[in-house]
Symmetry: C2
Amino acid sequence: MAKLFHFMLDPYSRRVRLALQEQNVAVTLVDEKPWALSRQVVDLNPSRFLPVLQEDSGAVICGVEALGEYLEERITSEKSLLPGNALQRAEIRRLVAWFDVKFYSEVTEPLLTEKIIKRFMRTPSVPAMARVREALQRLKPHLDYVAGLAEQRSWLGGEELSLADLAAAAHLSAIDYLGDVNWADHPVAKSWYQRIKSRPAFRALLSDTLPALPPSAHYADLDF
Amino acid sequence: MAKLFHFMLDPYSRRVRLALQEQNVAVTLVDEKPWALSRQVVDLNPSRFLPVLQEDSGAVICGVEALGEYLEERITSEKSLLPGNALQRAEIRRLVAWFDVKFYSEVTEPLLTEKIIKRFMRTPSVPAMARVREALQRLKPHLDYVAGLAEQRSWLGGEELSLADLAAAAHLSAIDYLGDVNWADHPVAKSWYQRIKSRPAFRALLSDTLPALPPSAHYADLDF
């Protein structure tokens, strides 16, 4: 069986796990810590990005950008996560990049770095609370953006579930694990998140637990 | 004719310009300044990323990630910039992401921000020379990485020219404009760059000139 080297709260690893589940592709998960990668994963991907997929053939596919397209091209599945014509696919990819670049740099990265990585590194350091506060402020307009999309369309990228939803859910679920999403203030975004969180593909993510850092109280709750 | 809203030294805009030239697609270029985007481009792409392509139909495609794939799917051209099978295409996309995420954050972004953007903003500020020095240090192993790829393969992503070469050349040409690449110390990377720089698709980039900041002496020279 193929192996996916991943970190539980890494949003890029989460998106690939969700895509594999949606496409009914079974893999063996291998836990990695971004702050102390195994020798094996560094050998497979000297650039040190997660996730990394290693197929039975030995073929290695590195990075979320390549993996999203690779699964679409390679996996024989009736389900496309980039549905539609070239323009509709461009809109999905625009949103994926928006979450992976903008949302990540402004929200996911500072929260994960300050709350998780600094805590678990060999030489732990104190979280910069100013960065945490700034990230939480920036999260608010971004949840309004999600709500705006969800009001116009069945799913964020269009009329069908797509990689755009998986990217958004991957980032939001990672910070929801930390208890950092105030869903009550964002009912439309919450309603979209409830729908995707209830999908069977989401179940494995909801049972994730980091040693020494259990998830927030409502993290796995479908009626949060 | 379609319009491409771009900034001359933005590596993402440069890659799309190169791809359009390689695929023989003519567009009208509209100059934008990242630090003072026009109202028109903000309306087209509220996320404020360049480049943005507006087709004659009015269709708008935003962001380098979506555009790379869109041109591949949409433009009727004999020339693919993602050649090969799914694994070979994954390798090209891995490298594109490596340049766009890692090389950009460690080299291109600090050099452009400190040397260009801080200078031209409405309220100019002094460049942080420590950031510049750090970026130039990081450039060296990255040029060794380019050389390692160029020694193994005809082009960076495989046996054919691909988006990986265009991504690498887009970043390197932007900082070469600033005179920040010491090619003499990196003969193998230089040899690869000479090949891509000599292509007809590169010509338009080599005639770029920013008002008030002319290119480095060897920027447009094919025998640099």
